[in-house]
Amino acid sequence: MSIGVDQWVETADSRRVEPDGWWGRGSNWWGSIPPWGRLGIVLGLAVFVPLFASDFVVRVGVNALLLALLAVGLNVSVGWAGLLDLGFIAFYGFGAYAFAILSSDQLGIDLPTLVAVPLVVVATGLLGVLLGLPSRRLSGDYLAIVTLFFSQIFLELALNVDRLGVDLTGGPNGIAGVTPFHLFGMRFSSPASYFYLFLTVLTLVVIALYFLERSRTGRAWQAIHDDALAAEIMTVPINRLKLVAFASGAAIAGLAGSMFASFQLGVYPLNFQVQFLIVVYAALILGGSGSLSGAVLGGVVVAVMLDLLRDPGQASAAFYGVIAVTLIAKIRPWKRLGAIVGGAVVLGSVVNAIATSLWPGAFEGDAVSTGPLASFLDSWIVVPTDPVTPGNWAYCALVACVLALPLVHGWKRDALVVPTLYLAAFVWETRLVGEPSITRQLLLGALLVVMMLGRPQGLIGKARVERV
């Protein structure tokens, strides 16, 4: 018997199957480009955005870069080291407030950007160490609860530190009139200038973290995430590395905070509520926790989505677009798809005809959506004169239908899809499109639910196996 002769291993290459289809070939091609090439392609596309896009789009881009930076920072502690840090928003807020205090009339201090930003980053990193000290022995849900508490403490402080003799934070009014970044004699005022600045910062942070991920530190973090005891037995000082992870994430959040304060020209307590923490988490999870490029992609996707949904017209386009794409991708063959869409059209027309003839005058409302779809929607959907109550009931019915969909099979499911589609359109036109702030959260939540069911590792994350 000779050790290590293994038929299976020897013939492994002959059993390998090349990925198929346009998706498989595409990702294969993308993966074959070296990392620098991939970074170059993405940057090359990104630098053209401000040249061809409107100011609004560039602003969306700046928000996207900022959220991407936050997701990348969160990825250090959550994605790599596995520390469920819900205090992240406090570091972001601390960075923003610290920069605002150091460069505004609040205390009469106005430091040059090149002094203020490094000061803020170091201070936030130290705050990360400070908050990490009592938390480093906690893990999982215990750590989450303690750090969530830090978030709340920060918000309370920001709201109340205006009554201590000196007005440090401006209380509920925040700090307005923050000096914008001025570097090397340039003053950053236009969205485009911020876009390029943020793109540069994000790129540098991503490159730094790319090298860190592949170093002993990055490996030790991932080892702690997988099995902290085994990591410690394998020479890794886990408590110190947890602190480093905490502090690194915090420092990046502090950097993002000062950038945000300067871009917004002010900081307000509302910017740092737990809602925004959820958005950052959503970005990281959607993109793929533990993956650097995933965090960037998640940040961009979520930020663009949230900004897109601000405008009812774009929101409608996105809503119906997603439904159409889902139907086309999920329902085969074409005959079945045709039957379902046809069924929905017929159902709508019949309901419309019956409703308007039975109760003339009760359905004077108009579909809110505009554009090419509008005239079709008006004859398809019955919009009550007072849409609120029927809309609410329809919303409940829609949730029931969606929940029932996975429970039925075969033709019954196809039959159920028809009223579900109609209800979705009805609810959208009567209720959702009119209240974009709620709708944004709902759609973000729905997107996350679908994502977690269909692709738990995120857009470009790797599937994880947990130790049992």
Partner: protein
């Protein structure tokens, strides 16, 4: 006379009112392969946990090469030269085979995070050394863990390969003494035989001192310079395999009272 690399003196550990390790004396000389045997619940793994710093003994002394290691954190004990495998495999499942091994180089390397980010000379040299060392250690097991396997996640490996990877990972911590916790558990007869051969090679080719917990008596017989038998946390016999295997106290511990007489 070779000196004791690892020495336990009067080590006692109890969980609440239950004494798990009872005034245990244990020595392992440099270059020796010592087997720790005993029925389930005898306290063998607890001894490993005490040596590696997972548990702190209630009393007694543990020293590595004359230096006390009681109360030191596990990572420090590991860096000083004690590495182990686990009875229930504890790999870093989501990391690649190569990365699993490279993690254990943490204690030996020095690059700070900023050095890694700026890829200083030290950081690059250490990284290259650890990588080569890891690949060399993995080739210790023939072709099973090399080539494309380097980049596969650990959860993709078969059970036997996971055990092998754990041994490779422990070796990468550059230990002076290697603690193997049931390396042959769950292996088929061929693989068990291979583990026995491997345990000897760990000493003969790599120069490690080995303390091994094992239930398979063929392995114990094949590899041990010395055998120590535990029951209820106390040492009941010590010596050559033949001496311990036929010792009445050992037979009684495994088979119950009266078994020795009927044999």
């Amino acid at each position: 006379m070779p000196r004791n690399l690892l020495e336990l003196r009067e080590v006692s550990i109890s969980f609440g009112t239950l004494t798990v390790v009872d005034a245990l004396d244990l020595e392992v000389e440099e270059g020796e392969i010592v087997s720790l045997i005993g029925p389930n619940g005898a306290g063998k793994t607890t001894v490993f946990n005490a040596i590696t710093g997972v548990y702190k003994p209630d009393s007694g002394a543990i020293s590595l090469d004359g230096q006390s290691i009681v109360g030191l954190p596990p990572h420090q004990i590991a860096t000083m030269g004690v590495a182990r495998t686990f009875q229930s495999i504890r790999l870093f499942q989501n990391m690649s085979v190569r990365e699993n091994v490279m993690v254990a180089g943490y204690g030996r390397t020095t690059a700070r995070p900023w050095q890694s980010i700026f890829r200083t000379r030290t950081a690059r040299r250490e990284e290259r050394e650890e990588r080569e060392h890891a690949e060399e250690l993995l080739s210790f097991f023939g072709q099973r863990l090399v080539g494309y396997r380097f980049d596969q996640p650990a959860y993709n490996l078969s059970y036997a390969n996971r055990r092998r990877l754990e041994i490779a990972r422990a070796m990468a911590a550059r230990p002076r003494i290697l603690l193997l916790d049931e390396p042959a558990a769950g292996m088929n007869p061929t693989e068990t035989q291979e583990i026995a051969a491997l345990t000897s090679r760990l000493r003969d080719e790599k120069g490690f001192t080995v303390l091994v917990i094992e239930h398979d008596m063929h392995v114990v017989e094949g590899v041990s310079d010395r055998v120590v038998a535990l029951d209820h946390g106390a040492k009941i016999a010590e010596g050559s395999f033949d001496h311990v295997a036929t010792h009445p106290a050992v037979v009684e511990a495994y088979l119950g009272k009266g078994a020795a007489a009927t044999k």
